[in-house]
Amino acid sequence: MAYNILIIDDSALTRTVMERTVRMCGVDINEIRTAAHGKEALEVLDSFWPDLVFCDINMPVMDGLQFIQALQNSDDWRDLPVVIVSTEGSETRMEELRRSGVQGYIRKPFAPEEVAAMIQQVLGATSNAR
């Protein structure tokens, strides 16, 4: 099975690095789309069905927390796996995100191996559940 991935980050550099990393992670990838903030990501979701979302927290227009809240309020996207990729290191916030249904957390700066491990962990679980 080939997976669709959505990457949300306001940094073009990080979007490019994430996209490259995802393509090299050893999982069969069908399509990767990117968005610069949560609002743009919601527009992407009108025509794209991802299996996993990598989402930054600190973004203009609509931040990652607001985007996750929008997913929670959607019948279509409530169960979409989201992994946060952020510079923030607060365990209080991570616990809050876990309670919101976030599947994982990668802290910036990250090593490519962390992204690969997270993809295999989350998509493996998703794949096994199907």
Binding site: A12, L13, V17, M59, S86, T87, G89, T92, K108, F110
Partner: protein, 154 residues
């Protein structure tokens, strides 16, 4: 010799530049003259405490980051176009890492989007709790300023 708070900033900078871009960071004591910073950016944090983190670096460092991550050394236009984004993202990572090192893992902070500064001068500090740390990255001078303006929610 750097004090503990300066080490905190140096360690955070090392982690960011080495992990994200494979660049080494060394303390700079001023004894050696290095090419000066050429681009600066700043951002603020709010929440458990309020303050600002600013950084200025040489353009060659930004180019090295882009090249190490995207392998575009033969494309000067691509390098130049990405410098601002790179500086903002490195500062963003640095800010998050400094806050965790300095205040611990419990407090929650909201970070403003990083802004590029018009010139290379760092913002004037408005409080007494301020650290300016000079470092050597790729044999150029880089400076990070960390300022805590308010701790009332800690």
């Amino acid at each position: 010799m750097p004090d503990n708070n300066e080490y905190t900033i140096l360690e955070a900078a090392s982690r960011v530049f080495e992990t994200a871009a494979f660049l080494s960071v060394y303390p700079h004591d001023g004894s050696q003259e290095l090419p000066p910073p050429e681009r600066a950016a700043t951002m603020t944090f709010h929440g458990a405490a309020t303050g600002r983190v600013s950084m200025r670096v040489a353009l060659s460092v930004l180019d090295s980051v882009v090249d190490n991550l995207l392998d575009v050394q033969n494309d000067p236009e691509e390098l130049a176009m990405r410098r601002g984004d790179v500086l903002k993202e490195m500062l963003n990572m640095l800010c998050g890492n400094i806050l965790t090192e300095y205040f611990g893992a419990e407090p929650v902070f909201d970070l403003s989007p990083p802004e590029l500064l018009q010139d290379v001068t760092l913002p004037q500090p408005t409080s007494k709790e301020v650290m300016l740390v000079a470092m050597n990255i790729e044999d150029t001078l880089a400076e990070v300023m960390f300022e805590v303006q308010n701790r009332q929610n800690l």
